[in-house]
Symmetry: C2
Subunit: 133 residues, 2 copies
């Protein structure tokens, strides 16, 4: 139910990404997966994962002598939270100014602009069809 706000730290993001991609998976898998980017030992990874279970970001299930982890929040949910956090903190909660800022402050290629325009058009049509909001 609850549309909670999941504020993941940098490290938690790294971990949950690995989980999303291997789900369900054991801690060693995650550790190996991250070994190159992050330089974490098994202990480190495991500790973090267990803390994430406590926080309700992951959940576990025992399979014989193995402990398998699964994500509780989806990638979409996490992305949404991350964006909402930014909008709240840095743009006073207003989405359009943030979009505008993105357009103004990041050099997008023509191609990207086209793509965006296309997306907006699509959105627009759909919105109209479905009874405007």
């Amino acid at each position: 139910m609850a549309k909670k706000n999941y504020e993941l730290t940098e490290s938690e993001w790294a971990i949950i990404q690995a989980v999303w991609e291997n789900e369900p998976c054991a801690a060693p898998t995650v550790q190996e997966e991250l070994e190159t980017r992050k330089n974490w030992t098994y202990s480190t990874v495991k500790t973090m994962m267990d803390r994430m279970v406590t926080k309700g970001l992951l959940k576990t299930e025992r399979m014989r002598n193995l402990i398998l982890y699964r994500s509780v929040v989806t990638r979409i949910q996490a992305q949404k939270s991350e964006i909402m956090r930014t909008v709240k903190r840095a743009f006073d909660g207003a989405l359009t100014p943030m979009m505008q800022f993105l357009l103004d402050n990041h050099k997008l290629s023509q191609k990207q602009l086209n793509e965006l325009e296309r997306l907006i058009k699509k959105k627009r049509v759909k919105g109209r069809a479905a009874g405007k909001k």
Copy 2:
């Protein structure tokens, strides 16, 4: 020079916003400004501000027996960092997917969509004029 990445915490955002709006200003001013929203005592605010000086987010200047604070990073810089952080963590560094996500996952009104389209058009033209990138 350095185009550093400023990762402000929630509290730091609150403080620096107050500073931006009153710059240069003394700690008590900031504390009063935030009194309603946050419920921080003077000590709390002062401590945080001094820590932010250490971190290079604010700087001070002594005026007789007063200590005045100024921001070191601009609102734009901070917003940019905040967005970059999100893009990096949650969208694998790619801006367009993030924009797409924004369009897909947040119900924008027709008006907002129009506005965005207009902005993009403007961008497009300007980009073309200035030798495409």
